[in-house]
């Protein structure tokens, strides 16, 4: 079908409304949206594209290709976080994080809803194990690298010269200088302390009493992270998408 024919066909379509569409139908429609985005990106079709982005939140490129197996990822349900800091405690204990350092942190945001009234939101943050990690690109000694099997961004402490360039490059402030190691330290999804020993969850995910941190394999359709990120009904987003780092840590509510 040529573009002219296609556009006239599209304009002739009746609006059926989305209220009564079964979710399978919605899914097919959205898939078509992606296809159209790839082939034609002009004229009235743009509105279709923007709708797709609204539903999906995170850009498509984050989800289509999974270069790693397992492709480790974390989804954070931020409205469930109450800043009890059990995750921070568990992380520090498991990974010997000193009191001045952090592998994961919890930010606080106060959103004004009325004069003198606000709602508080706690935002857990950690290394986003980006698909395009700026820290890896800038490291002069290749002390920080992306694990070829799992995609986890890992530190080789022996190679690190402590120049802190990676700290500057990281869009997520996920790194600190560890005085004892004389090297940069950061979250590695508990790769050395738990995952390589057969554990399925990171220390922080296992310790969270509110089920905020959902950890798993983004390339496995059976995993909870896959199902959450791919659910067209769920709004999922990433922090600082403009940095172009293509993170593997996602945020959602509920």
């Amino acid at each position: 079908m040529g573009f002219k024919k296609f556009s006239s066909w599209l304009e002739a379509l009746q609006n059926e409304g989305t209220e009564h569409l079964p979710s399978e139908e919605r899914r097919r429609f959205l898939k078509m949206g992606f296809l159209v985005t790839g082939v034609f990106a002009s004229g009235s079709l743009l509105s279709l594209v923007s709708k797709v982005n609204k539903v999906y939140g995170a850009p498509e490129v984050y989800r289509r290709s999974y270069p790693y197996r397992p492709h480790y990822s974390m989804v954070l349900k931020i409205d469930q976080c109450v800043d009890c800091e059990r995750c921070k405690e568990a992380c520090a204990k498991t990974n010997h994080v000193p009191s001045y350092g952090w592998r994961t942190n919890i930010l606080e945001r106060r959103i004004p809803v009325a004069p003198d009234e606000y709602v508080t939101e706690f935002i857990p943050v950690l290394c986003n194990h980006c698909n395009v990690p700026p820290c890896v690109r800038v490291c002069p000694t290749k002390a920080t690298y992306k694990d070829k099997k799992t995609g986890i961004v890992i530190m080789n402490y022996k190679k690190c010269i402590g120049c802190k360039t990676c700290m500057e490059a990281c869009p997520y402030n996920a790194r600190y200088f560890n005085e004892e190691k004389r090297a940069i330290d950061k979250c590695n999804f508990c790769y050395d302390t738990r995952l390589s020993k057969g554990e399925k969850l990171t220390a922080c995910a296992a310790a969270c009493p509110a089920g905020v941190r959902i950890f798993g394999d983004l390339s496995n359709p059976e995993s909870q992270v896959y199902q959450m990120v791919h659910n067209p009904e769920r709004v999922v987003w990433v922090l600082r998408p403009g940095a172009g780092a293509k993170p593997n840590v996602f945020y959602t509510k509920g």
């Binding site: 409205d79 469930q80 976080c81 109450v82 800043d83 009890c84 800091e85 059990r86 919890i106 606080e108 709602v119 508080t120 939101e121 706690f122 009493p209 509110a210």
Partner: protein
């Protein structure tokens, strides 16, 4: 001159320290639960101002003695969903449900430190 300012400061500090336990006696003050997790705030004042009387919660839901709920072992969100403790009213009908608006009550470790920080400091000066 310097002594005079210091004197005023000490007087002011005594005033602050003197007044807060008295305030607490009036309506029970603010309760900050730190178990099973840190930290949950409960304002007696806000609840009394809504027209609740002491007997509405004491006793039955909460013993008068501070710390009783925290020691009971079932002071958890699950209990609240079953209608115990705060869940007796926070069920979505009388007041907002316990599984919504989490941060209205959960002030977290940050909130706890913010509240306790100045008080601890004042005690140290005292």
């Amino acid at each position: 001159m310097r002594n005079w300012i210091l004197g005023l400061l000490i007087l002011g500090l005594m005033g602050v320290l003197g007044s807060w336990p008295a305030m607490a006696e009036d309506d029970g003050g603010e309760v900050i639960f730190t178990r099973p997790i840190k930290a949950v705030i409960f304002s007696h004042e806000r609840h009394v101002n809504m027209g609740l009387s002491c007997d509405d919660c004491h006793e039955g839901l909460f013993e008068m003695a501070a710390g009783t709920a925290e020691e009971s072992g079932d002071f958890t969100m699950k209990s609240l969903y079953e209608g115990k403790y705060c869940g007796a009213c926070h069920n979505g009908e009388m007041a907002f449900a316990s599984n919504t608006k989490c941060t209205s009550c959960h002030i977290g470790v940050r909130g706890y430190n913010r509240l306790m920080g100045p008080k601890l400091e004042a005690h140290e000066h005292h």
